[in-house]
């Protein structure tokens, strides 16, 4: 019986190793592309931090119970114009270590996305550290911080939950206020989209009113154009990029398409034009004219 078992094990080993070693095919290059950028991030530079604080909270019904800093980005409320509040950076902290594991060249990617991130507030930093220190996190992140004792971690959790509770309490107040404002707006005059109105009403934009309204549409437009853009790898070259300008009327119809800076390669330019001309109309009327510059710049991946 034992002999049989041993034999079986040996046979399996031989079989497995045989399968492994017989693979003479050239290994294909593995590269994972993880999209760390395409998140519902509004352009932070347009927001006023003090206003953000208020706007960030109005989770209509924040699911977060008090036990864990687990809650995910879902809690982001729909109608908020959303210049990126804290709940956002938290899932990032959790997903990043994963990316480190998978992506072949994470440094580059992260570098790229780095400037888009908002500086974490102190509590966020704590959360980041927490994620990094949790046992499941890869060691890569660790060396920067000294190890925390179990008690300290416990403490951090507690502190964190307390903050959460406070937050929720506060939210109750703010969400009521928001409700009131909404009603006021509705009666005031029906402007087409409450989101944009709230955006221009509550979050002061530094560079004027138009761009702030655009914030709501940029992610949608970005996703749409990305999906409809076909470009063979033969044309993913460092030197090839194009900047175009799209204008939409208040009803959301595309009014014009203009090349600001051609790539110099007609095929590349055409591929972008094809994608752009498919975008006839925005999903909902922005209520005002929209003008966006868009850069198509595929990264050559090595």
């Amino acid at each position: 019986m034992l002999a049989f078992s041993v034999l079986l094990h040996v046979l399996i080993l031989v079989y497995v190793s045989g399968v492994l070693f017989n693979q003479t095919r050239e290994p294909e290059r593995l590269s994972y592309k993880v999209n760390l950028i395409n998140k519902p991030v509004a352009q932070p530079r347009l927001g006023r931090p003090d206003v953000q604080k208020q706007v960030e909270n109005p989770a209509p019904k924040p699911p977060a119970p008090e036990d864990k800093p687990k809650p995910e980005p879902e809690s982001v409320p729909k109608p908020s114009p959303k210049p990126k509040p804290e709940p956002k950076s938290q899932p990032k902290a959790q997903s990043e270590p994963k990316a480190v594991k998978k992506v072949k060249k994470p440094e580059k990617k992260q570098d790229k996305s780095a400037p888009k991130k908002v500086n974490p507030t102190p509590e966020n930093k704590q959360e980041v550290r927490l994620a990094a220190q949790s046992p499941s996190a890869p060691p890569a992140v660790q060396p920067q911080q000294p190890m925390l004792s179990a008690a300290e971690i416990e403490n951090l959790y507690k502190q964190d939950t307390q903050e959460r509770i406070d937050e929720i309490r506060q939210q109750k107040g703010t969400s009521e206020r928001i409700e009131r404002l909404k009603q006021q707006l509705a009666t005031d005059k029906r402007t087409s989209s409450p989101s944009t109105t709230v955006a221009s009403g509550r979050v002061g934009s530094v560079g004027g009113s138009g761009s702030q309204a655009g914030v709501d549409y940029t992610e949608w437009i970005k996703g749409y154009l990305m999906e409809h853009w076909t470009l063979p790898r033969t044309h993913w070259k460092k030197e090839l990029y194009i900047i175009v300008e799209l204008r939409f009327d208040p009803q959301g119809r595309r009014r014009s398409y203009r090349v600001i800076r051609s790539s110099g390669d007609s095929y590349f330019d055409q591929s972008v034009e094809k994608a752009v001309t498919k975008l006839d109309k925005l999903p909902s009327p922005p209520g005002k004219e929209l003008s966006l510059s868009i850069k198509f710049d595929p990264e050559e991946m090595y």
Binding site: R29, H228, L231, T234, W236, Y267, L292, I294
Partner: protein
């Protein structure tokens, strides 16, 4: 002061405008990297010939796949337009292809009259519902592969503005006869023709820029001498038989000169020869060996390998200033540089952990990275004239065999059809 102002203005208006331009949206990943294409089987206009149909399917599949631009939509999904002999934009039912998500459509038909073949091929833009390009080829049945290669070249030209090089030649060295001789074949390994019968060692071919001639090294007279030969006739000239090495000759981009390694004075150095073999100039003078020249597309610089600093590394010689600059700084053994026809990359091979793999690097020394991986020595990379593909040899099967791949290292495939070792490819125009 005025100068300063001008410079400042230039900086602000000229260079600053786009370099630091922050667009509202930046898109760095296209959703698709291949064009969904409908390509139904070519239909017979007269009698059916299974062999012709098989060849059409095989050549188109190979070329379209190698180009890396297309994704052929599965034939099982095709609707009845695929079975209709509709070859004009008025007749094609584009809505069917649109339904399948096709952006392009390739259709065709053939007619066989004895040994005479007529091939009708069309490329349509499904979105715009119009014909992009089309041809009626007439010729021998034996010309079928060439007609198809040519049509794919035409497709690439229509779409990208740069003609393909599927209808071209690869010269290579094969030991099929027992001796290493020079051969020519189509780029997919078909249609092999033997060029030399030196019954000795032949090495390192290079095409003249117009593709009409080859230069190569042969030991026919027991010394590595340089020969030039027409690919259309048996005309052959013995152009350099200096003592020692006469090897690795490369035509200059204008075809008038050859960069070559000679060791007539004891040490292997680079020289510039006229097409007749006369020495025009000595290019290098260092204690190490200087070999494997590769011209920049403008002909103003030459990349080569030298061990002047100890290990073999790639250097670049500026022909005007005669200055030599070191290109590669990593690795211990770098060899056989190949400057791309567009000038954007220099390929070379690096020996690491006992295996040669192909790397590429910018002529300014940046962006160095491997494009082949794993076991099997990949050696002697050479560009296709359009810069889209690379031919090289790989000995993963135990023997050197000819491979081609795309310029980024993807889509590698074996293309040798002769038995025995095949190596030293050179890619020529047709």
């Amino acid at each position: 002061m005025k100068y300063m102002l001008v410079v400042l203005l230039w900086l602000v208006l000229g260079s600053g405008t786009y370099g630091a331009f922050a667009a509202d949206i930046e898109i760095t990943t296209p959703g698709r990297t291949t064009i969904p294409t409908g390509q139904p089987e070519f239909l017979p206009l007269g009698s059916i010939d299974p062999e012709v149909e098989r060849t059409i399917a095989e050549v188109l599949a190979h070329d379209l796949d190698l180009s890396g631009m297309f994704e052929i939509i599965s034939r099982e999904a095709y609707l009845d337009d695929a079975r209709n002999l509709t070859l004009t934009s008025a007749e094609v039912d584009f809505s069917q292809w649109e339904l399948l998500g096709a952006q392009l459509l390739i259709k065709g038909a053939y007619q066989l009259k004895g040994e005479q073949l007529e091939l009708k091929v069309r490329l349509f833009d499904v979105d715009k519902r119009r014909l992009l390009t089309g041809h009626n080829y007439k010729g021998d049945k034996g010309d079928l592969r060439r007609m198809l290669h040519r049509f794919v070249d035409e497709i690439l030209e229509t779409l990208t503005g740069t003609r393909g090089t599927f209808d071209s030649n690869i010269a290579f060295i094969s030991s099929a006869t027992g001796n290493k001789e020079l051969y020519l074949s189509d780029i997919d390994g078909h249609n092999v023709r033997r060029v030399t019968n030196h019954r000795n060692l032949v090495l390192n071919p290079d095409f003249s820029p117009e593709g009409r001639e080859l230069v190569f090294t042969s030991y026919r007279e027991d010394n590595p001498d340089l020969y030039r030969r027409s690919i259309f006739s048996a005309a052959e000239a013995h152009i350099s038989a200096r003592e020692g090495l006469n090897i690795a000759a490369r035509y200059s981009p204008n075809g008038r000169e050859l960069a070559v390694t000679l060791s007539k004075d004891g040490n292997a150095e680079l020289y510039l020869l006229g097409a007749n073999g006369k020495i025009h100039k000595r290019l290098t003078n260092a204690w190490g060996i200087d070999v494997d020249p590769s011209w920049s597309p403008l002909g103003d610089r030459i990349a080569f390998v030298s061990n002047r600093h100890g290990n073999p590394h790639v250097f670049i010689l500026d022909l005007l200033s005669a200055e030599v600059e070191r290109l590669t700084r990593n690795g211990k053994y770098n060899a056989t540089p190949a400057w791309s026809p567009n000038g954007d990359w220099i390929l070379f091979t690096r020996l690491e952990e006992g295996v040669f793999n192909i790397y590429r690097i910018r002529p300014d020394g940046t962006d160095e990275h491997p494009i082949t991986f794993g076991a099997g020595n990949k050696e002697h990379p050479r560009w296709s004239p359009d810069g889209r593909f690379i031919a090289y040899s790989n000995d993963i099967s135990g023997e050197k065999r000819l491979y081609i791949m795309r310029s980024d290292g993807s889509g590698a495939r074996e293309v040798s059809s002769l038995p025995g070792a095949t190596s030293h490819p050179a890619w020529g125009k047709r």
